[in-house]
């Protein structure tokens, strides 16, 4: 390899990589839950190809050298890795701040104490509903609710800062006030209320999960009221449905700009869904140093900067605000990863996307297609 070749986007325009701040470490795709909106790719990585704890420790050191300050240790369910504490210790030894993102299932009190000693800084716990019936139905895991409530209690006893992650959709959005109250009761410092992103697994469940416009308006007003009431006591972050917004989300704060994701097998991705861009080739930590992948790989450089953008993004005054939105969503909805995200009101496809979402929202479907690992392979 030549020294410091000029990084270029997919059209050959020169780009200037910055240093990443955050890294998502998806240490396994295995999970006891089967949520029908799982953010993992539809083609899941199998257990035997997962990076070892030693390989993760090396990845964390490389990431810290590159400028990463925080690691989000996620999955799948990270607790499905028996060596989770060793992995966490690797992050601590690299000087990273570690966020454990968990369903709470499969981590006993004793293991949580171990994770405390290994240096977990913060715990984010997902909740699928505010009662056993909904939580167990959405997660596809009978008994999940009781286990989660026990887990939340241990988190409080040990003293970890807690964030509640509540994914909302048509079947549970009306109970948002109760979800916020529950997060308060559990002593959460923060609740993240995120509307399902209709990619991957969730795309298979659009008709059963798409919220109505009335529900979205209700959720917005609940959040606004709760923010005033809970000021200084609990932070509420709210992610509305893409098609209910005027402009798209600045996905990843811009492609290859501040964050990176490492998949269970060591594939390094600009975002967790990037493999849905089926023509793009991604590199692996086992083959190339992380710094080279970050600075020099075609995948990370593809959509850096703004020169690659077509119209209407190219002449848009918001191009450095939202960076044209989400590349994966452009791929999924426009069939072209470089297109303006159809969630944007300026996209020529926007009206059709909204109309389709409204049709899905009006559906009476309730049956779910659960996430599963395909047998064999």
């Amino acid at each position: 390899m030549k020294d410091h070749p000029q990084p270029r986007d997919l059209d050959g325009n020169a780009v200037t990589p910055r240093a990443p701040i955050a890294m998502l470490a998806e240490i396994t795709h295995r999970c006891p839950l089967a949520c029908p909106y799982c953010s993992n790719p539809v083609d899941l990585v199998r257990g035997q190809s997962e990076l070892t704890a030693e390989e993760w420790a090396d990845a964390f050191r490389q990431a810290a050298d590159l400028g990463v300050l925080q690691v989000h240790i996620s999955g799948g369910e990270p607790g499905a890795r028996r060596d989770l504490a060793q992995i966490v210790a690797g992050a601590r030894d690299a000087g990273l701040y570690s966020n454990l993102i968990t369903s709470g299932i499969g981590i006993t009190r004793q293991r949580l104490e171990e994770l405390n000693r290994a240096g977990v800084d913060h715990v984010q716990l997902s909740l699928q509903g505010i009662r056993p019936d909904m939580a167990d139905r959405i997660s596809g895991h009978p008994g999940s609710w009781d286990k989660k409530m026990a887990f939340a209690e241990w988190v409080g006893q040990i003293g970890f800062p807690l964030t509640i992650n509540a994914v909302v959709h048509r079947q549970n959005m009306d109970r948002l006030p109760d979800m916020i109250a529950l997060a308060e009761t559990l002593g959460a410092r923060r609740i993240e209320v995120a509307t399902v992103q209709f990619h991957g697994w969730a795309d298979l469940n659009r008709a059963a999960l798409m919220p109505t416009r009335e529900q979205a308006a209700f959720a917005r007003s609940v959040v606004n009221d709760a923010r005033i009431r809970l000021r200084g006591r609990m932070v509420i972050d709210y992610v509305p449905a893409d098609h209910h917004a005027t402009y798209p989300k600045a996905c990843m704060g811009g492609w290859g700009s501040t964050g990176l994701n490492i998949a269970p097998d060591g594939t390094v991705l600009p975002c967790h869904a990037a493999q849905s861009i089926n023509w793009m080739r991604f590199e692996n930590l086992r083959d190339r140093p992380l710094a080279d992948i970050w600075h020099l790989s075609d995948s990370f450089n593809a959509f850096r900067g703004t020169a690659w953008m077509p119209e209407p993004c190219r002449s848009c005054e918001r191009k450095e605000v939202d960076f044209g939105g989400c590349r994966c969503q452009a791929m999924a909805l426009a069939g072209d990863a470089r297109a303006t995200d159809p969630a944007c009101s300026r996209s020529p496809l926007h009206a059709a996307v909204v109309a389709r979402a409204e049709d899905d929202a009006a559906s009476e479907a309730t049956d779910l297609t659960y996430r599963r690992m395909v047998k064999g392979g």
Binding site: L69, D121, F160, P161, R190, G232
Partner: protein
């Protein structure tokens, strides 16, 4: 809006929030749940005073002496900066016993 901190209250960094060096960028940062906040010199100076024993008023007096600045101006800066962090749950407050 109600003030989130009074002069006699004691501000502190709760578990999971800490000052750190960003060695790659040569900056000081406040590490908190799912957020690393870059600090300027003033922010770093204020947060470095949080020891869990001194009140906001005492911290303000000490900063005014250290930087030879008018105390009422420092008081406004400290209160506004801490209020923003209390709203984000990155600084906690205890009432003096």
């Amino acid at each position: 809006m109600e003030p989130l901190i009074e002069p006699d209250d004691i501000p502190y960094l709760p578990r999971g929030v800490r000052l750190a060096d960003d060695r790659v960028r040569g900056l000081r940062v406040l590490q908190a749940p799912e957020r690393a906040m870059q600090l300027d010199q003033i922010g770093d100076a204020i947060l470095s005073e949080l020891d869990g024993t001194r009140s906001m008023a005492a911290i303000t007096r000490d900063l005014a002496a250290k930087y030879a600045a008018p105390e009422d101006q420092i008081a406004g800066d400290v209160r506004d900066f801490l209020t923003g962090l209390i709203e984000r749950r990155m600084v906690f407050v205890k009432v003096r016993p």
